[in-house]
Amino acid sequence: MNFLGYPRADGRIGVRNHVLILPVSYEMNQVADRIARTVPGAVTFRNQHGLDQSGEDLAQTLRVYKGFASHPNVYGVVLLGWGHEPFDLMEIADAAVIAGKPVELITLEQVGGMRQAIERGQHSAKLFLTDRDQSPQESVPLSNILLGTECGGSDACSGISANPALGVVSDKVVAAGGTSILSETTELIGAEHLLAQRAVTPEIGAQILYIVRRIEESSMRMGVDLRGAQPAPGNIAGGITTIEEKSLGCIHKAGHSPIVEVIEYAQRPTKSGLVIMDTPGHDIEQLTGMVAGGSQIVIFTTGRGTPTGSPIVPVIKVSTNSFTYERMRDNIDFNAGTIVDRVETVAQAGERLFQQMLDVLNGQRTQAEKLGHREFGIYRIGQSF
């Protein structure tokens, strides 16, 4: 099974060919926005991090920047720094260069002000956009795909319809030699024993239990019942009663494949197959982590309906029920409510979703891409709680 992709110098395959304006700290958001608004075709996002960070927390943020700068869906990068960030900007530029991308590094401090930074950025972005149109595309096997799976705004149908259908797709990607990421550690609470049994080694099983314990402890430190945030008010309105119930529905999106690896937030998997990435349940922090880890495509199931997307990765949104699909046609790509309506089986809906994923890999734009969604959020750890 093949699709049409952009081969990159580091051996990875892009399914999009973006020119990314990447602000590495909040100081450069305004400059990034001005560039992206005046150069049609360039993409950017809003960043509220990158300054006054240290230790593991900073390391995690840097993993996200490097993951975006070197991402296979990115053709070239305009890297924007203030000049006083607590890290070496060249480290991020190098990550992009090693991945074979043209990079322009601009700092406010060196370039002499906002106006100059905007002009330099516009110039480079235009240049990259012209060059990218010469990028060759090749037919490549599905084994090159790193699929991110996600659910958000879940309802009681998530575990019955959309997640099992996504599970079918995940298993097919894994069977083809590709990789699929299950994340949202909070939403594994109560289902971790089932996943640990699927780990290929006892060590990986222990890691699964460890990351679940870690996030449960970190939330318990706030001294409140997790319920209200997990499950969220919308989940509860949709019929989900406890985090255990949410989790037991959540894990269906990872199908039935064995779990070959557990990775940290925004890390790249080193193995093919089904992997678990340790992320919070927060839709956008999770999405950002999987994209930084190299996912070229994300399938996102939703019960209540969500409009979100990524600046550089197509996100296919799948509704768990037909009401939500009809109510949010601008935002939802695929209706798995057909399973609940008893017009399709899980296997049939899964096959249809798999075909839709192939179409999107081959260039079909998702609703979130059409609407220009650019959500971004880094999972912060070790803040001054």
């Binding site: 509220q48 930074a117 945030a229 927060h282 109510r327």
Partner: protein
């Protein structure tokens, strides 16, 4: 000069008449962003919060959002909810209406047909509110009607000139809110200064607020604390500004000012510059744009006190 501002029906007084699109959750960002691009008169924020938060951290986020929705420089706020978020937009709306006579409205994406349906509703809101706002005129106000948030580079709080700056604002009658880690700015104070949580206000003439973990978080906190104006004194070029409180940035170092003068509102060399600074602040309070406003800066970062779950 006479300061000119807008008197509001809720008894507050603003120096801008903003229309504010505030996403209650990250998932509503794009709607606010699209609307702000379509209608440049709309101020908006883009953020990553409002979901998967718990306990005191969730509560603080809710309070900051409430304070921004009711900010004195805002004429009308549209709260944009998704419908399943943790900071429940509908509750935020109800509480805001119960607390204040500010023009606060609500739109929920899941109940409005998705992104485009929601944006249509906001378009209508904009034209309705603009019609109401058209006849509004500024009227004379006093410095004592205004709150000024002051922040400086970490090393500068002990310096004489920034301290004189705060003293001058106080003598003019303005109320001043300072980040608690920069209490030295009010070194001349003989009475004890109250310290309140991030984003909170105190009734005192001068008060301290717990700062954020970085300067933008602090700027957001000072804005939520009710600052009409933000004064940022620094020896570095910066490119961020509050969407609601005009951010006025003066440089305290000669070479930096010369290199980056286009990014500053002025240079503060000695005490003789203070009348010029006060005069500029009065003009900006009365409607003149600061550099940050000419760039339509709309930066936001929230100080978090708990983990995402």
């Amino acid at each position: 000069m006479t300061l000119m501002g807008f008197l509001r029906k809720d008894g507050s007084l603003g120096i801008r008449n903003h229309l504010f699109a505030m996403p209650a959750v990250v998932c509503a960002n794009q709607v606010a962003l699209d609307e702000a691009q379509k209608h440049p008169q709309i101020k908006y924020i883009e953020h990553q919060h409002g979901c998967a938060q718990i306990g005191a951290d969730l509560e603080q986020t809710r309070q900051v959002m409430m304070a921004l929705a009711l900010h004195p420089n805002v004429y009308a706020t549209m709260i944009v909810g998704l419908g399943c978020e943790g900071v429940i937009a509908r509750n935020l709306y109800k509480d805001a209406r119960a607390k204040s006579q500010k023009n606060v409205d609500l739109v929920v994406i899941q109940e409005s047909g998705g992104t485009l349906g929601t944006e249509n509703q906001i378009d209508q809101w904009v034209s309705q509110r603009e019609t109401e706002m058209a006849p509004l005129q500024r009227s004379p106000i006093q410095w004592s009607d205004l709150v000024v948030g002051v922040m400086v580079d970490p090393g500068l709080a002990k310096a004489a000139l920034p301290q004189s700056c705060v003293q001058t604002l106080f003598e003019a009658g303005a109320r001043v809110v300072l980040p608690a880690n920069q209490r030295d700015l009010a070194a001349s104070w003989t009475t004890p200064l109250p310290t309140v949580d991030y984003g909170n206000a105190a009734p005192n003439p001068v008060w301290l607020m717990q700062p954020g973990a970085n300067e933008l978080e602090t700027a957001t906190g000072l804005t939520a604390a009710g600052a009409h104006l933000l004064l940022h004194l620094t020896a570095h070029p910066h490119a961020f500004g509050s969407p609601l409180a005009p951010t006025v940035r003066w440089c305290v170092e000669e070479p930096c000012y010369h290199q980056f003068h286009g990014d500053f509102d002025g240079q503060l060399q000695d005490k003789l510059d203070l009348p010029r600074l006060m005069d500029q602040l009065a003009h900006i309070a009365s409607g003149q744009h600061s550099v940050a406003e000419t760039y339509s800066m709309d930066d936001f970062a929230l100080y978090r006190i708990g983990p995402t779950v």
